[in-house]
């Protein structure tokens, strides 16, 4: 049994509910109505575009086309991860790209080819949605990790210098900052894993159930994706935090906060 097909009027009816938010915003003078309108239009356009692009990609079965789409997704995710951070350093976007390639890219391929056993491993019906979910969560981890890391390196120079002054290596001095940053980056996925199934029914499982998958199978896929997300977020956040620490310390192991810029 497939899902009931949705047409334009159903989408329109759902969109009308957002008007309630708009009315509330006007009434309470929240000033959010414009943002709400833009966000709604963006959602419709971006998702419609995704639907239009995915149909021919699924049909074509061309590995390069699939990898090309994945590459675009990784680049956009890296840019989004960086754009939410209030500080930056030269090369941060590139470092986030590497972090997502290492974290999300490798994890998605291990998930499809290694664990689920999809053949070929790049089968777009599996790889693209799984990569998308992993990237979406991974980029949040990277943003939070970088925000914490750069803020502390920028504002807590006295503390870090006090340890460097005793002969600590850059890594010894920055380790508490890196640990705190990694911890912060992992908060959202740990929260999700704690309440999943009790408070939330996650999007992927909902989609599979609506698509006719037996709930137990949908739950199994959800477990898989959560573990992949957790692994990818940890790995991606770690890589991006280490890259930030490396960028802000110089070759003589000195902290150089002037390398951090406000964005």
């Amino acid at each position: 049994m497939g899902p009931i097909e949705l047409g334009p009027w159903q989408i329109g009816a759902a969109a009308a509910l957002v008007l309630v938010n708009g009315a509330l915003s006007v009434w309470l003078k929240l000033g959010l109505e414009r943002k709400l309108a833009v966000a709604s239009v963006r959602s419709v356009v971006q998702l419609a575009l995704l639907g239009f692009v995915l149909e021919p990609v699924f049909a074509a079965g061309n590995v390069w086309l699939v990898l090309g789409i994945c590459a675009v997704m990784v680049v956009l995710a890296a840019r989004a991860a960086v754009s939410r951070v209030s500080r930056g350093y030269a090369g941060m976007t590139l470092a986030s790209l590497v972090a997502l390639l290492v974290g999300a890219g490798a994890t998605a391929v291990i998930g499809t080819g290694g664990i689920v056993g999809v053949e070929p491993w790049w089968e777009p019906r599996y790889l693209i949605p799984m990569l998308g979910m992993i990237l979406g969560n991974g980029l949040t981890g990277i943003s939070l990790g970088l925000e914490t890391c750069l803020k502390q390196l920028d504002e807590e120079r006295a503390r870090i210098d006090a340890v460097l002054a005793f002969g600590a290596t850059a890594w010894e001095a920055a380790r508490p900052v890196a640990a705190e940053s990694l911890r912060t980056g992992l908060i959202p996925i740990l929260n999700s894993m704690t309440v999943v199934g009790l408070v939330t029914i996650p999007g992927m499982m909902t989609g599979q159930i609506l698509g006719g998958t037996p709930p137990l199978q949908a739950a199994a896929y959800q477990m898989l994706i959560l573990f992949l997300i957790a692994a990818a977020t940890a790995l991606g956040t770690l890589v991006s935090v280490l890259a930030a620490v490396r960028a802000v310390f110089d070759a003589e192991g000195r902290l150089r906060p002037e390398r951090i810029r406000q964005t």
Binding site: V163, F166, G167, E172, E252, R254
Partner: protein, 200 residues
């Protein structure tokens, strides 16, 4: 001479704080640096500690900074900031962290006994840094620096937050140690029998 530096220069924007500055500190000698506020005294100490970048030739027992490497240099030349920062946890946690640094391996004195001589209550070591006064933090940071047995101490206003008894006790403990000291206290240089270097 233990510490020899030449060609020290520091600019901030268009302003030259000091240039072509040379200094020497002999074994067990105290050199006091005087200068107006903003004359770059703190920056000078930080440069000598290899915490701020510079192109000057600075040597410790004849070995250059580059030759020793940054970690070994900072292990032997200890900078202590005027305001000890508020670290996470307690001073005892901090000292244990410092003691675990690879560079300090096994060559440590007793900061608890040292700080006790300076009038610090023993229980201050187990209170959070955030609950300590400026004077308590200053004595703890200084005691840790002294206990880590560096070849040279670079002290930025080391007794600015201390009462006269504690100042005297600290000064007594500095005897025999090689130290470059920034202070606004003109009398301190005399009490320490230090050579004075004016900058700015």
């Amino acid at each position: 001479m233990v510490l020899v530096a030449s060609g020290l220069e520091r600019r901030v924007g268009d302003r030259t704080l000091f240039s072509a500055l040379s200094l020497e500190v002999g074994a067990g000698e105290h050199v006091v640096i005087h200068g107006a506020s903003g004359s770059g005294k703190t920056l000078l100490l930080r440069m000598l500690a290899q915490l701020d970048p510079h192109d000057a030739d600075v040597r410790l027992d004849g070995a250059s900074m580059a030759g020793l490497g940054p970690t070994a240099w900072r292990r032997r030349v200890r900078y202590v900031a005027q305001d000890a920062p508020i670290h996470p946890g307690t001073p005892r946690d901090w000292w244990e962290r410092l003691a675990s640094l690879k560079a300090l391996d096994g060559d440590l004195g007793d900061p608890y006994g040292t700080s006790a001589r300076w009038g610090l209550e023993a229980r201050a070591w187990d209170r959070p840094w955030s609950q300590l006064s400026g004077g308590e933090r200053q004595r703890i940071a200084l005691a840790c620096a002294v206990a880590s047995n560096p070849d040279v101490l670079l002290l930025d206003e080391p007794t600015s937050a201390l009462d006269p008894d504690a100042v005297a006790a600290v000064e007594a403990d500095l005897a025999g140690r090689t130290a470059l000291i920034v202070t606004h206290d003109r009398a301190q240089a005399e009490r320490l029998g230090a050579r004075v270097l004016e900058i700015g």
